[in-house]
Symmetry: C2
Amino acid sequence: MKVASLKHRRDGKLVVVSDDLAWYADAGHIVPTLQAALDDWDRIAPALANLATDLEHEAIPRERFHEHDAASPLPRAYQWADGSAYVNHVALVRQARGAEIPDSFWHDPLMYQGGSDCFLGPRDAIPLADEDWGCDLEAEVVVVTGDVPLGASREEALAAVRLVGLTNDVSLRNLIPGELAKGFGFFQSKPASAFSPVFVTPDSLGDWWRDGKLHRRLCVDLNGQPFGRADAGQDMTFDFGTLIAHAARTRALGAGAIIGSGTVSNRDADGGPGKPVADGGVGYSCLAELRMVETIAGGAAVTPFLRRGDRVRIWAEDDRHHPIFGAIEQVVE
Amino acid sequence: MKVASLKHRRDGKLVVVSDDLAWYADAGHIVPTLQAALDDWDRIAPALANLATDLEHEAIPRERFHEHDAASPLPRAYQWADGSAYVNHVALVRQARGAEIPDSFWHDPLMYQGGSDCFLGPRDAIPLADEDWGCDLEAEVVVVTGDVPLGASREEALAAVRLVGLTNDVSLRNLIPGELAKGFGFFQSKPASAFSPVFVTPDSLGDWWRDGKLHRRLCVDLNGQPFGRADAGQDMTFDFGTLIAHAARTRALGAGAIIGSGTVSNRDADGGPGKPVADGGVGYSCLAELRMVETIAGGAAVTPFLRRGDRVRIWAEDDRHHPIFGAIEQVVE
């Protein structure tokens, strides 16, 4: 089952979307919003699944689905916690500044508490007041959970995964050092994120969802050029079960909590940092990683951060090259 | 006007509470939840204010208000951002470990992104799996905002304050050093917070709410003994307008955002760290501050963190010693 929220008031209007993303059926007679569905998932999900089946069979009224009419599936959420599960990415950050990566980073997940009150839509512009803030994209996989009890095990956490999707976790890189020096973590450096137009239930992903990971390439284009083609199922040190359990170690998580993977990042086949797509590599899921590779190779970053007018596109494909979750496509303004 | 949410499903049932906290009137015929009221405040607030007036005049059906039936006014929220506006508190932390406080701390607010999906109720137990985590209370003032545009000025931010209340921002002190060393800020060290049973509109606070600060003593009792009596209007380096504007510098805030003051802390009359209440001082709003004062005075902290069975009570009084916001009262379990 695929779900989306058409732009409508603060929480959107829940619709079920056909597998090919061409059509939708209004779910308003079942439940008005995705959050309301997640609040009562065991009762609501079967009715939504029936609607999805009827939609595929063209047995009910349907409308054309346009991704630009979609808000993020949860236009606002009660919880957005973002891990950094591709430790390769973290290791490169450290390597670029000549620092060792602590051994603990390989067995204790990094996670930051994100803000979740005003997400951007998947086709909304990224508002950027100052180019000097160093605006970067971060292409990631996310899951949405049901209720997760305090102290849940990895297995309990995995069983609570309700939906899978993608995010562009916008970061203001040049504000990060100052905030980290203050010791209170990210705040101004993490403005509003955007999510894929469509979220998908794990069962609908079949074999692409296994071991708590999404086994598909995460595609990133920058200004129409291939920038990232990393496999989200590779080099993910901490699967989503581990990330969710980490988040729930000292507190319960409420239904509708969004947990992120952190920037997807693959090592090169030779074990070194990834090469650009143009050089036969899988590229990058954020500009900072390319800049780190440039720093390691040549002593300084060459590629600039995002400027006004730059266009970012993030998606994942099925075997016929159709987007699974639709596409995040944003222009910096 | 005073509002509360009686425990009911995930978001509570909105009620208007009499000024003396003895009675309530159900607001369900106007709007079901406080979040729904905040989403449409300009239209809803006048109707709630009329209900409050009718309640004071005993012109409508009323029920006895029991604080232990109340959830936190927003049982879950889309945004919880907590400042550290009493820089005296931060200076003591640094002093206790022999470090200077950076000059920037006096003009650039500290703020961390809190989790907001599952708040504790004001009389709920504090679940503590491990006493070695160093469980601490933090008594703070909070405000709830309407929509705040990205880049709002201090004045625009202050005008967006809809409600004022209190929180116990529970912290796990012994998990903080490890998390801060990882550089991603607080996460597991900040479990669920609890809020006062009642939130109050700024206009109902009269002169107690001015210059973006609450000018009342914040009372804290620990196991029935006076522990803190600090004046929340004193030594607050950053008022709520400044804190909200800081939070909104790179992103908009959605209606219902909760912004915290950080632990309230007063210097002693002689300019030094505050003295215990038993010694004629105003005491402390968290155990960590007392432990820092002990460390500065005697080389080591003496007072332990919270243990199972410990009872915390947090409130603020009017001139007749009646609680303004009701009382947070929690036992560690």
